[in-house]
């Protein structure tokens, strides 16, 4: 059975630039010139980084980050 693939996503309408996600998992998130966060690339979470992705979700004061199982992995 294939390993599940996870995806993080920052809701730009909710992000207020607390920068907590960037602080706990800088490989998964990027900041723009205003300090607002977005997921790197398509937000795919490398296998070894799932716990960091969960940490980012659990530390966003605005509940702006979602972590979902990527559909293409659900075979």
């Amino acid at each position: 059975m294939a390993h599940a693939t996870f995806r993080v996503h920052v809701d730009p309408d909710k992000c207020q630039g607390h920068n907590r996600c960037y602080s706990v998992s800088p490989d998964l998130f990027d900041l723009d010139d205003l300090g607002m966060s977005s997921e790197v690339g398509a937000g795919l979470v490398p296998a070894g980084q799932l716990s960091l992705a969960r940490l980012a979700v659990a530390n966003c004061p605005e509940h702006a980050i979602s972590l979902t199982e990527a559909p293409e992995a659900q075979q």
Partner: protein, 406 residues
């Protein structure tokens, strides 16, 4: 002590954030109100409300229809016709409402992202080392007066591009704005005028000799192709100075106050330096210094309470951070708390602009302190005093040094 207001008998119906009981220890008061209300009311300051749960604090922070940020410091005086009206307010953007708020905020945000803030770290670290070196050989000293309070004031003075030797006089200004909120309005106004005068002199000086600092940045900044009016520039300078000093000073002091009483936490930070970022967030949660305020923008019913236009509302982020519905075992400081959506820097559009700066200063201040003084305790717990008003932190913090680092 507060000799201008009578002592509070019941915080549910007559709260006052300058009351001696609140200043000494607000947490049991908020716990009690959470059970009984959870929205308290007071006729003081011309009428004020106080929600104390995380949910209600968040609800207000996200509601720009029923609440205005035109004034965010509760005092005997509400903004009058002579003050810059909403949506700008006296000190944009903290005093501004959407959509104007967003324009001003976007202009300022680039100066406060992790990268420019990281550039201030070497200065901050050197400053901390100098302050600690000045305490060398002493059995004890006041960690608030001789250490914590100097750090943010000198960093923001450098950031704004004011002379370092002016740093000391700013502390008086900050006390006026944030702590002496129950002074008669005339006296407050008179002293505010002196603040404006200082800022105007700095603006003139920076106009004549532009440099690479925040003041010149503000003078050059444009919104919609227009330079900012001078009162906007001045208001923002006052804001950055005030918001950047008392708050971080309080967070550093409160963190040292905690560490002085918890040898196991000191040992843990020394053994696991990698824990520092997480620990800083937990200390910010547990000892969040800043309570904000709003004015009710129009009459409406807030969860059964008749809110009237012009009522004050205290927005206690520190109470939200201690709500057991939002945080497991909230009164316990767990330096490795993994789930921590604390609201120390506020929630929503007014999230503290300087949060990266404050975090950097707090982390560096603790790292340098612990490197030099890994072991210390309160000299006399009863001698510790706390600030009154919307920013909470120790103002007297005598410590005894038990052990020295390398």
């Amino acid at each position: 002590m507060n000799d201008r207001h009578p002592p509070v008998q019941d915080f549910a119906t007559d709260f006052d954030h300058t009351d001696a009981a609140w200043v000494a220890d607000p947490y049991p008061i908020w716990d009690d109100l959470r059970q009984r209300c959870p929205v308290a009311h007071s006729d003081r300051y011309g009428g004020a409300w106080l929600p104390v749960t995380h949910d209600l604090v968040a609800e207000v922070a996200y509601d720009h229809e029923h609440f205005t940020s035109r004034s965010v410091v509760v005092s005997e005086r509400r903004p009058g016709p002579d003050d810059l009206p909403a949506p700008i307010g006296v000190s944009p953007p903290i005093s501004s409402d959407p959509p104007f708020h967003g324009l001003v905020r976007r202009m300022l945000l680039p100066a406060f992202t992790p990268k420019p803030i990281a550039a201030l770290e070497p200065f901050t670290r050197e400053l901390c080392r100098e302050l600690l070196a000045a305490t060398d050989g002493r059995a004890g000293f006041d960690a608030a007066v001789e250490y914590a309070q100097h750090i943010p004031v000198r960093v923001i003075v450098r950031f704004l591009g004011f002379p370092q030797e002016d740093a000391d006089q700013f502390r008086g200004i900050i006390k006026l704005v944030l702590e002496e909120v129950d002074l008669p309005p005339d006296e407050r106004e008179e002293r505010f005028a002196a603040v404006d005068e200082y800022m105007d002199a700095q603006i003139e000086d920076h106009r004549a000799r532009p440099r690479d600092d925040l003041t010149s940045f503000l003078l050059e900044a444009e919104i919609g192709g227009q330079k900012l009016p001078v009162e906007h520039v001045r208001g923002t300078m006052v804001l950055l100075m005030i918001a950047g000093i008392d708050t971080t000073w309080s967070a550093i002091g409160a963190s040292l106050w905690h560490l002085a009483q918890h040898p196991e936490d000191r040992r843990r930070l020394a053994a696991e330096p990698v824990l520092m970022d997480t620990a800083v967030e937990e200390l910010l949660r547990a000892y969040a210094p800043v309570t904000m305020a709003r004015l009710v923008a129009k009459d409406f019913d807030f969860h059964g309470h008749p809110f009237k236009e012009g009522d004050w509302l205290l927005l206690p982020f520190p109470a939200a951070n201690r709500d057991p519905a939002a945080f497991e075992n909230p009164d316990l400081v767990r330096l490795d708390r993994a789930t921590n959506r604390h609201a120390a820097f506020g929630l929503g559009r007014h999230r503290c602009l300087g949060s990266n700066l404050a975090r950097m200063e707090l982390r560096v201040a603790l790292e340098e302190w612990l490197a030099r003084y890994p072991d210390f305790e309160l000299s006399d717990p009863a001698a510790v005093t706390w600030s009154a008003g919307q920013v909470r932190g120790p103002r007297r913090l005598p410590v005894t040094i038990l052990g020295r680092g390398g």
